[in-house]
Each structure stands twice: as structure tokens, then as C-alpha cells.
Subunit: 199 residues, 2 copies
């Protein structure tokens, strides 16, 4: 028998499923939410649910969007001749914060990870290759994270893309090895883009 | 113009209102939630909203409950002769984890804090005094946090309660000064209860 009222316990259990929120923090948040005015909790719950249902994938690049095309793909000032390949939609947001890259993106929604059973068919590689068949793309910049899975994915993609006569580059290791792209600062990301090398 | 899709931005804004969740963590959580299966997000949003609406205050002590009386007040094996006064419902949960205290509680829902404009009428002091009028209570243990507001509240309550011929005690400073009751371990809390002194 727990000493925590059941509704709070259930809130805490759901919150504890989120990344970075441990059992204690989840309980603390649940008690906090139980004491909030009802309209604030309504706003929070609605934002989560409506946010989730409003979000869809860009038909072109796989980024999050509310329309059929994301803001980048719909922008006539962005060049489709250079594609930047990233793992996650949040990596697009990180890259966009630099205001440096004027091409478009391709979001893989994951990286190759045999340990986790994630193979080439589980991420959006087929969709990437499809975008390279009509000769509209000159260069693919692979901007997966500089960790084991990210590097393996980059090597794998380079092998697939080179025969299509498309230049394949990799962002420089300006991003500290072992960390995640989304935490890099704008200057580091710009340096990483500039220092990209042929694969 | 932000680079984050509006629904995710709105999720992040709501999440960032919660204690201990900064702007970056909120964004990270929002992106995570956007990628979850819809049924999991539904479960999370429902747990928060239903949890909030299911929760009410115990008519006797002010603890959180789903019934009119909380689990402690409804328990015939708990003695009403000793009341433990705490600031928050989560302090009840912390105290209950010790399995040591067999009396009942009174939850103030706050402590005196002139700096924040919180005076005696803003917390459940009147309700506490009402419980002491019929001679059913022998002792009031004041278990507010060992910080400035907690101590001031304890002193204030002692002055009000002593004329009613009720023993007033304060938990010992076994709880490290400056920290919060809810983070104390069970042993420290038991020691604090045992070492309580007359006020």
C-alpha cells in the first residue's frame, strides 16, 4: 500500500515514462499539478494531446509540420540542390538556429543501430534515395550525431549514394564527439558545416 | 520566427511552466511526446487531467484524497490524540513512508511568509484550531520544514495552541537545516520525530 493518493500516483507513473524524469521528480511534478488551478492543468493536458495530434511528417523531408510540407520545404528561397541528412526533427531545429544552411533537409527518424535491431528498412533511407534519382540534388551533407551509430549510418549512406553521382559530405567533427547535435551551440554547428569533408 | 513547429512550441511552453523543467528540457520533452504513439500521449494527458479532477482535500485534515476522508483519517487504527502539522500533502506522504507515526495529520497548505504576502488567514490555521477545541487532541507535533518560514510558522502556532492546554512539540532538527522535508530519508525522519522538543 502506497501512501500516495491513487490519482497522483497515476500522474507520477505517466510522467516518469518521459525521458529525464525520475520517480522522485515525477512524484514532485504530480503533487505540483494536483495543486494547480484546473484551467492550467486543462491547458497542459490539451497542449500535449492537441500538439501530438496536430503534428505530422513533412511529405518531402520527414520533418515535423502541421501542413503537408514543412516550413523549410515550402520556402521557395531554400535550395533543393543540397540536402542535409539528420536523425531527428529536433536536429532540424538545431541546424535552423544557425541561420547558415540554405538547403533542405532529410530526416531519417533514427540511425542504424544493430544492437537495438534498427536496420536500413527501419529509418527513412528509401525515401532519401528516392529524392536523389531525378538529378535535382548535387550534394548530400550527412549531419547525424558524431557517435558510433551516427558514424556507421554516415558510412552506410555514403556507400549507397556515391554510385548515384551525388557528392556526399559529412559535417566536421566540430561537434564534440560523444555529445548530441541538439546541444551544440550555433558557432560550433556553423564550423561543423564549413569543415565538412568528402566521404 | 521560431524554427520549432507551433504545436511543439506550445507543448514546450506548457511544460516549461512546471517546476524544475527549463526551456531546453521542455523542448526536448515536447519533441519526445510528438514522437510517441497517440495512445501513450492520450494516457499521459488523461492521467494529468483526470488526476487533477479526481483529487480533493480531506474534510478532516486537508490531505489529498479521492473520498471525503483521506486514508489516514479514515483509518480506525490511527489515533486522533496526536496531530502532526505539515505544510503540504507531499509531506504527509514523506512522513507515512516511515511507518512510524500512528497519529493523524493536519495539512496547512503553506507556511507563513510575509515576504510572499502569506499570512495566518491564507493557510489552514483556523481549521487546525477548530480541531483542538473539543479536548480530543493531547499533542500537536509541528513538522513544518526547518527553514525560516517553517520555524516562524511553528513559533506562531505554538503561541496560539498553548493557551488551549494542548502540548505543542516541534520535530527535532534531525532534518538537515535548509533542505526540504520531502527529501529526508526514513531514518532521519524517525529520529526527527523521536527528538521532538517542547515549544
Amino acid at each position: 500500500m502506497t501512501n500516495i493518493p491513487e490519482p497522483i500516483d497515476r500522474m507520477a507513473a505517466e510522467l516518469a515514462r518521459l525521458p529525464g524524469i525520475g520517480r522522485k521528480s515525477a512524484q514532485r511534478l504530480a503533487y505540483h499539478i494536483a495543486a494547480l488551478p484546473e484551467n492550467e492543468v486543462r491547458a497542459l493536458a490539451d497542449a500535449l494531446w492537441q500538439g501530438r495530434t496536430a503534428i505530422r511528417f513533412c511529405e518531402e523531408c520527414g520533418n515535423y509540420t502541421q501542413e503537408s510540407l514543412c516550413r523549410v520545404c515550402a520556402d521557395p528561397n531554400r535550395s533543393g540542390r543540397v540536402l542535409c541528412v539528420v536523425r531527428d526533427p529536433r536536429d532540424v531545429a538545431a541546424m535552423e538556429r544557425t541561420h547558415d544552411f540554405r538547403g533542405k533537409y532529410h530526416v531519417l527518424h533514427g540511425v542504424l543501430s544493430p544492437m537495438d535491431g534498427i536496420g536500413p528498412d527501419d529509418i527513412r533511407i528509401r525515401e532519401l534515395l528516392a529524392r536523389l534519382t531525378d538529378g535535382q540534388v548535387d550534394e548530400v551533407i550527412i549531419a547525424t550525431n558524431p557517435d558510433i551509430e551516427g558514424e556507421a549510418t554516415a558510412t552506410y549512406l555514403a556507400r549507397l549514394i556515391k554510385p548515384l553521382n551525388v557528392r556526399v559530405t559529412r559535417i566536421a567533427h566540430g561537434v564534440p564527439v560523444g555529445s548530441a547535435l541538439e546541444y551544440a551551440d550555433e558557432v560550433t554547428l556553423v564550423k561543423a558545416m564549413q569543415g565538412r569533408r568528402e566521404l
